[in-house]
């Protein structure tokens, strides 16, 4: 299943998006730049606040950890110097997660949600029109129990029966922006995963050529992120056609 992106589901937030992968659905809302509390104020750049709400219950240490990972990533993506002494507030709500019947080891589950959170937060930041330095795409991959074979964008079964989980984020230049792993793995396996995820990330934002139909015909995956974002931009400019 290819990831899905819905643009601007919330009209009251400055920017919002929902992102669906085979494992998770995330609703992201972004407000900013807004007034920042004096104690969080930074004189030279915008403060970034990330709030993650789990599917059920209230957040705990797990959510605090995810928030810290995400805030660090967003700081490298947002142009924080453009709006000093302000706040960029990102709120992420997990709407769907793997059903409780599938037993996933704690640390593996924590890492698995990261790519979905990153992609949702990025899409919402784009929707909010915040100044961004680069485009980021995150991907998830697992190494199978036998230690060989990498599964990209795994389903619940593959996640439950895996040896290690890897979440990585890349920008358009192929630079690694996010790297979190869980489980047991060796350097060789990590390198395999790195190569595979780098390729999938590049595909997700690959420029759409004129031979688009031909590309999709022979089974190459579509650049889903670019297509979703360009679709939004076209829709936004649609009034020009009739006006």
């Amino acid at each position: 299943m290819s990831p899905e992106l819905t643009n601007h589901p919330l009209i009251r937030a400055d920017g919002s998006a929902t992102h669906t992968t085979s494992l998770f659905t995330i609703l992201a809302a972004v407000n900013g730049p807004i007034e920042v509390q004096r104690r969080d104020e930074l004189p030279e750049e915008a403060a970034i606040e990330v709030n993650i709400r789990p599917c059920a219950g209230i957040g705990g240490p797990r959510e605090r950890w995810l928030e810290s990972v995400l805030a660090a990533l967003l700081k490298s993506v947002l142009l924080v110097h453009a709006h000093p002494r302000t706040l960029m507030q990102v709120t992420l709500q997990v709407l769907k997660e793997p059903s409780s019947g599938v037993r996933v080891r704690r640390r593996l589950g924590d890492v698995a949600v990261l790519p979905a959170l990153v992609n949702a937060a990025f899409a919402a930041c784009v929707d909010a029109g915040l100044p961004l330095g680069r485009t980021v795409v995150a991907g998830l991959a697992v190494v199978r129990e036998d230690g060989d074979g990498v599964v990209v964008d795994p389903d619940e079964k593959a996640l439950a029966g895996c040896r290690s989980v890897h979440a990585m984020g890349f920008d358009a230049q192929g630079e690694l922006l996010l790297n979190e792993s869980g489980g047991q793995f060796e350097l060789r396996q990590w390198q395999d995963v790195f190569e595979v995820l780098k390729t999938t990330a590049a595909v997700a934002i690959a420029p759409t050529g004129e031979d688009e139909a031909m590309m999709n015909g022979d089974g190459t995956p579509a650049p889903w992120l670019r297509q979703a974002l360009e679709g939004n931009a076209r829709e936004a400019g649609a009034w020009r056609g009739v006006g």
Binding site: D14, I34, E35, D127, D171, A172, A233, A236, G243
Partner: protein, 244 residues
């Protein structure tokens, strides 16, 4: 217009950059310049180029209003201090300053008496990312109000900043609305009302009756949220005016 769409961080190719006689280039919203000659997109949007002015910018629909000098805004008075009013332009941002004497023919003895909650149609006179935004209720160069000043009566409605921009585009030479919004023209043919559009995503409407005011405001809000095209706008206006 075959517009190219850019993703954040993508480079605008140097072939498409307009050339002017002076050799200067004006960058609008959504673009940043990295010396010596790199122009990068900072947001998702379609590229627009004005060859006459050697200007280019990215157009993006959503997001919070960012003040820029010269923008007409509808400000709401928050509180008053010695000789300024503190007004809110958008929710949860720091307040803009409005000098109490920054109105047409205002003096120490004769100045508008505004209370917290009142609306003012004003122009952004100064803004920088390091400082508070300043607005004024008249054109300080000419001393004339030019339509600005306190807004009495009526009601303010929230719309998206992009829709506000479309409303303010005016009509082109062919007599058609440039922004593709005909709601106000259509309603104006049947009933009398006053309207002020603020770039900060607020529109103020006043007419003889509360019912008309709310009808006009609602029409604008729905046209924005449901992205009505011109045909749909005409239809909905006709439908709404039947009850007024």
């Amino acid at each position: 217009m075959a517009s190219t769409i850019f993703l954040p961080g993508e480079q605008v190719p140097s072939e498409v950059l307009p050339r002017s006689k002076k050799g200067t280039l004006t960058l609008g919203p959504g673009l940043r310049h990295i010396p010596p000659a790199t122009v990068l997109a900072t947001t998702l949007g379609s590229l627009h180029i004005d060859h006459k002015k050697a200007a280019l910018w990215l157009e993006h629909e959503n997001g919070r209003y960012q003040p820029a000098v010269g923008d007409l805004v509808i400000a709401q008075i928050h509180h008053s201090s010695v000789d300024t009013w503190h007004c809110s332009l958008t929710p949860h941002t720091s307040l803009a300053l409005l000098n109490q004497l920054a109105f047409e023919s205002a003096s120490r003895k004769n100045r508008p008496n505004l209370k917290s909650g009142d609306l003012v149609y004003a122009r952004v006179s100064r803004c920088s990312k390091w400082d508070d935004v300043e607005i004024e209720g008249f054109n300080s160069a000419t001393g004339k109000a030019e339509g600005m000043g306190p807004l009495k009566g009526g009601m303010a409605f929230g719309i998206s900043p992009a829709f506000a921009r479309r409303l303010m585009m005016g009509t082109g030479k062919d007599g058609l609305a440039k922004g593709g919004v005909v709601v106000l023209d259509e309603v104006g043919e049947k009933v009398k009302f006053e309207v002020a559009v603020g770039r900060n995503g607020r529109v103020w409407v006043d007419s003889g009756s509360v019912k008309t005011t709310i009808t006009v405001g609602r029409l604008l809000q729905s046209a924005d949220e449901e992205k009505w095209d011109v045909e749909r706008q005409r239809k909905e206006v006709k439908k709404a005016l039947r009850d007024v």
